[in-house]
């Protein structure tokens, strides 16, 4: 019985071993990168700014969308300002199914997306083309 468990443990060794090696490598790299990374609090709703008759919703795009949830005013047209900075991942390819919007953002720059006035209670969701990252805008 004891021998049996030992045998089973060694079986997963190549996978576990490679996972640990990869893990240490990436963890180290991430920890190093954290030092000069601006601390942006995720998931916090940002208050929208009204300029003229359109409300501007800023979304920063890199490894996902920040903020992931935003609350905006209903019955007012809006502009989504998608800001990319050295974005090479999936999030640079934006899909908003409800608006039938599909675009590839430049790896660095700002792209504006016009959103017509939405009814109160509408939740507009956008995601990257592979669906790995998403963001939501709630209109109240």
């Amino acid at each position: 019985m004891k021998k049996d468990t030992k045998k089973k443990n060694t079986s997963a060794e190549p996978i576990i071993r490679s996972a640990i090696v990869i893990g240490i490598f990436i963890l180290g790299a991430v920890l190093l990168s954290r030092v000069n990374r601006p601390s942006a609090s995720q998931n916090s709703p940002t208050p929208e700014v009204i300029t003229g008759e359109k409300q501007v919703i800023d979304i920063s795009v890199k490894g996902g969308y920040t903020p992931r949830q935003t609350t905006a005013k209903a019955n007012v047209p809006s502009v989504l300002k998608m800001k990319t900075q050295g974005t090479f991942d999936c999030s640079s390819s934006v899909v908003i199914p409800a608006l039938n919007y599909r675009a590839r953002l430049p790896s660095t720059g700002t792209t504006e997306i016009e959103v017509p006035a939405q009814k109160p209670g509408t939740v507009l969701s956008g995601m990257c083309s592979m669906g790995m990252y998403s963001f939501k805008i709630r209109f109240d």
Partner: protein
Amino acid sequence: MLSLEKEILGPKWSQFKVAFPVAAGFIAFFIFLQKLGVVNLITASEVSYPTAFIVGLVASVSTCMAVVGGLTLSVAANFAKQGDRIRPQILFQAGRIISFFVLGGVIGILGSMFRLGTTTTFMVSIIVAIVLLILGINLLDVFPWAKRLQLTMPGSIGRRIHDLKTINHTFMPFLLGVVTFFLPCGFTQSMQIYTLTTGSFWQGAFTMLYFSLGTFPVLAALSFGFAGLKDKEHMGIAFKAAGLVVIFFGILNLTNILATTGLIPSLFNF
């Protein structure tokens, strides 16, 4: 009849006791990596060869792992299961790196002539997800009907070719390696789009080459992870664990792709 079936399946089910935690650990590690925000490792905003290499390195542990890593793992496990643990995996990696170099150069010259449309991308994504699900189920080795779903040439073509096994174990892994160039992955597409703008064969070829070399360490670990396994029991466990991981990636891809059409709400996100 019933007891006979139980006798065959009995020892196989027990392998899940180890395979399941291993697969769960791997998936948890994958999710953990995404939560850490590995993509923030890329600080450059302009593409250079070192940047392409780093983007590749990051891509290999990013959400792209669900697509490219999933395919690599399932190809490696499927060939290892048929007793071929090294050669098809080398051919797969060679196919990937060579195709990135050559096709990178080609799209560098052709420029905007090359671009997969949204419908094509969608179709490719759906096919990849289904292939991952099938290969994953095949690796579990619990459904007798899944045994027919092998990584082989269609029978009609195969019958005319004399040495089918050589073809299947030489041409197929190489071709699958080439196919990874077209797999939907945000990083690969970003690099391809940059390559389109270069207008030069060599610049395009080397950008894509450095990118693929960046992805190599992690993909090689997935490819050759089965090489050290000798024991039948160990292999059974490893294949089942790989199968569970691949099925997870298949489901993840499928639900996410359907979410982009607006048909279903997005379920898994990072």
